[in-house]
Amino acid sequence: MPREGAAADVPWAGDLARDDAPTCAPDDSVGEVDEGVRASGYDFCIVVNDERIVLGLLRGDALSKDATALAEDVMELGPKTTPPSEPLEKLLQSSSSQGVKHFLVTTSHGFLLGVLDRAEAERAVEESREKSTE
């Protein structure tokens, strides 16, 4: 929804979160998940429960070592998440975000809203700066 206020034009993480990143259930096999990841263009899969609450993340070796393993057995538990109301500039400048290519945007309850791409976020911040100086 649109926003009003003194900082209404400041872009937030939730503004650019995309919902096209692959997700899987904890009891999906890594082999199935890996196929979906390859087709998606992403290099990770977000493990969510039936209510789309983020449980973990599958990436790197976890996607290639054992195709018969279950996602819940090899996933990284409790990945870092970002609230949708986080201003992009603040997010990109935070020390904990350095080197992060994708941010998982969730509500405070862990409900997955989407994935924010760092390059898109950087472009949006740049555009916002240019607008504010016009």
Partner: protein
């Protein structure tokens, strides 16, 4: 009675039932950013007296940061 609603239902209630939006974040946060036409009653201020500003005949949508 209260219930959790999603964004689509918020939009429907605002457009079709003239729902009132209440931002319960701090005054500072509200001044920085809020939904169009929302009023601010922060959680600290929320009581029967502050809620008396609301029209009891229209739906009331209370929100904070999350927008699920």
């Amino acid at each position: 009675m209260h219930e959790m609603i999603d964004l689509e239902e918020v939009q429907r209630l605002v457009e079709e039932e003239d729902a009132q939006l209440v931002d319960v974040m701090s005054r500072k946060s509200y001044e920085e950013s809020h939904l169009p036409e929302a009023i601010n009653i922060s959680l600290k201020e929320l009581d029967a007296q502050s809620a008396a500003r609301l029209d009891g005949d229209r739906p009331v949508i209370v929100y904070c940061f999350d927008y699920q």
